[in-house]
Symmetry: C2
Subunit: 444 residues, 2 copies
């Protein structure tokens, strides 16, 4: 267990845990860039009025105040208050609006940053955590094929990580909304909110919830019949057999069909339709996504998102998009807590250059520089103590090699795992690719 | 100019500026790891009592409050208040104390994170900015040779960046403090604070400041004579000629001598002694460092730090260390504002695969997957518009290559910079190393 949390909800890792996290972030970045997503960072704070636009999430915001303004009674608290962002979507929307004239659309960006939520920390819920988002945003119109592209990018990314198999569950808001229209349910938001709780409160709970909002029993049953459908391309026919049809619903079905056909062909089993997924109150208007990890379904969705018709709008222009967001900290926390992975060592160092005496530390420094010039991570021993002690220094960190220089200036390198020692030339010697940097492997 | 600041003090970059910043962060990370420093991240917040320990900086802290606690009159404001960290040293000290039993000393870590200061933003001063720190911390005793090692690591790192030549200016607190003892100045802190302002207020200003604190005119003149000394190894003799000698001062001089000798040999001209450097009120006890950029001296120090005897202590154990910190945002802001560097393109994408019609988008996707499997960043054209339009899409982003598939399924690749087109095999074709990823080059 490489996690240390001295302040509840604010996770920190030990060096070996950080190596696992770095490995995951590196793989995500590499994959996103292979798919043509560019990096973006936005500031960590937004004016409170930007953060509170969505209403519901307002209670989770951390508000900032400058310490020296605290005791200044003349300062109005409201006019320019700032809060920490609670996701990467709100700041990205603001960024796109502000910079639209300098961006080229469709704009593809990934964003890996910390976000903060002032909520009560629970198991797996953090107050500070890292998210990794990808979005494609257009100006005016966004082609549907991007709704197929995005989960494929995420499957490519998740497939490179040292984690159990991920499955992306999809639905289409148009189906649920069109279905509601077809069966005469008018308060669609209430219906979506109730279905969203299905896993938590069960069929009866959903019925009770719907009844409260004036949805009739037969309507609730019809909605539950839809929500029970799960599978690959066969689900299209199953939904049709429910006997409801509206233009919006048909549009949604044909989009879902196209998505399942293409993804099944490229990553068999990677994407599964699950008609109960609604993504609650979010602003999605087309495909919605959640992602479960095999054997870790209780972790909930590790990667969610969807299509939105208007991420941002300034009245004149509108920016539709599609996005997916990985909860990196939650993922890292789980794989560390369950010891699913392990780093080959806790430091980047591949070679420790031994020091014979403080007078000859310069010689060891020169060897180290030669090795670094060829991209090998090297430390020089901090002390010129007995070699046994220097070897122990390497051993405690998992540094695989110790470099010795004899009195004639000849070099030898010892693999301290096997004990094998051989003479070596500092301008030639290279470690194996596996030993050069720390590696992360799945345990067991 | 790739900077956009819609909120004063909170810088954001456009995609091409972010590529420059990423390049700089990547080079720093690579260099730090080559020298055996491991990555660490600490949470962004600390309890206020941790942040206020240093007193003087208290006014710069951003305090957090949960929005829903605002209107709760029963909640005590004080007991568990959190603030955003204003540097990476305070959180690192706390982390070392908390985890000492799980760390191996001397502990070498780098830390690249955002920090926040609630101060009035001025030119080049940000309220949110990225710092890149390296520290070596020991338990009990830290050998002096690490004070020589650290500036060499930073020179290696800075030398790889697309920035003007950096020079690290050094001094040793023991010299100044020993000198003060030797000339009978008792309020050493006041003397240091006054010398620290020398560049801003000049000799007369420093004299006036010192007079205020009861430092006699002849003492002020002696301190100014010391502060005027600057150069390489010859400075040792120049300081000795001032005719003051105490054991502490001699110890400092011999450390400075060793530092200058070794660094001059390994990076000629990279380190220069400057006896007026004191690092104000900080907690340093040995070598102190500042770094100036050739032609950009007005930017102030871009990389500062020093040796401290007790970064952290819990009464029983004490942890001395030496650290240096680069102000990354300030550096990036300057090189972008002055157009000193430029990115070869604004997206990671190397190849745009053209789409003949929406019916054959699948073919283009398969080509893209083949290229990505060999590590080439690829996008598929978002539209199947006329080829001229697809080429313009690539051109506006600086994507160098467009891939075409003819009706028989044969492929050709066009370098849109030269217009050259040739047939290509998606399982074989590779771009040059320079074209594969965006590159960053010094302009002019």
């Amino acid at each position: 267990m490489a996690k240390r949390t001295s302040l509840s909800g604010f996770p920190e890792w030990l060096p070996s845990g950080r190596i696992v996290e770095q490995h995951i972030l590196d793989e995500l970045r590499t994959t996103f860039e292979l798919h043509g997503f560019g990096s973006l960072e936005t500031r960590s704070v937004e004016p409170m009025h930007e953060l509170l636009r969505k209403g519901e999430t307002s209670k989770e915001v951390y508000v900032l105040s400058r310490l020296q303004d605290r005791n200044n009674p003349h300062r109005s608290q409201k006019d320019d208050e700032l809060g920490l962002h609670f996701d990467l979507t709100v700041p990205f929307a603001r960024y796109v609006l502000e910079n639209a004239g300098r961006l080229v659309f469709p704009f593809r960006r990934y964003q890996i940053q910390k976000v903060w939520r002032g909520e009560r920390p629970q198991d797996g819920r953090f107050r500070e955590f890292t998210q990794a988002d990808i979005d494609i945003v257009a100006q005016g119109e966004l082609a549907f094929h991007h709704e197929i592209e995005l989960p494929l990018v995420m499957l490519d990314a998740l497939g490179r990580l040292p984690i159990p198999r991920a499955t992306i569950l999809v639905n289409n808001r148009k189906i649920v909304q069109g279905y509601c229209q077809g069966i005469g349910v008018e308060n669609i938001d209430d219906a979506l909110r109730a279905i969203d709780k299905l896993d938590k409160i069960g069929d009866d709970g959903v019925r009770a919830e719907m009844a409260k909002h004036g949805i009739a029993d037969h309507q609730a049953n019809q909605l539950l019949a839809l929500a029970a459908i799960r599978g690959t391309t066969e689900v299209i026919e199953q939904v049709r057999q429910l006997g409801v049809s509206t233009p919006l619903m048909d549009e949604g079905l044909s989009e879902l069909d196209a998505l399942l056909m293409e993804t099944e062909q490229r990553v068999p089993g990677g994407v599964v339709a699950d008609l109960k997924i609604t993504r609650g109150l979010d602003y999605y208007t087309g495909t919605v996504y959640e992602t479960i990890l095999e054997g870790h379904e209780n972790l909930g969705s590790i990667c969610s998102g969807g299509r939105y018709d208007s991420l941002a709008s300034d009245g004149k222009r509108t920016f539709p998009g599609v996005g997916l967001s990985i909860g990196v900290s939650r993922l890292v926390s789980r794989i560390l807590a369950d010891n699913l992975v392990e780093a080959s060592r806790s430091v980047p160092t591949c070679v420790l250059v031994a020091v014979n005496s403080e007078d000859t530390r310069g010689e060891s420094n020169r060897i180290a520089d030669q090795l670094r010039a060829r991209g090998i991570p090297v430390e020089v021993s901090p002390s010129s103590a007995k070699f046994g002690k220097q070897i122990r220094y390497a051993d405690r960190r998992g540094i695989p090699f110790v470099w010795f220089i004899d009195e004639d200036g000849n070099s030898a390198i010892k693999d301290i795992r096997s004990g094998e020692q051989q003479s070596a030339d500092p301008s030639m010697w290279v470690p194996s690719d596996e030993d050069r940097y720390p590696t992360v492997r799945i345990v067991g």
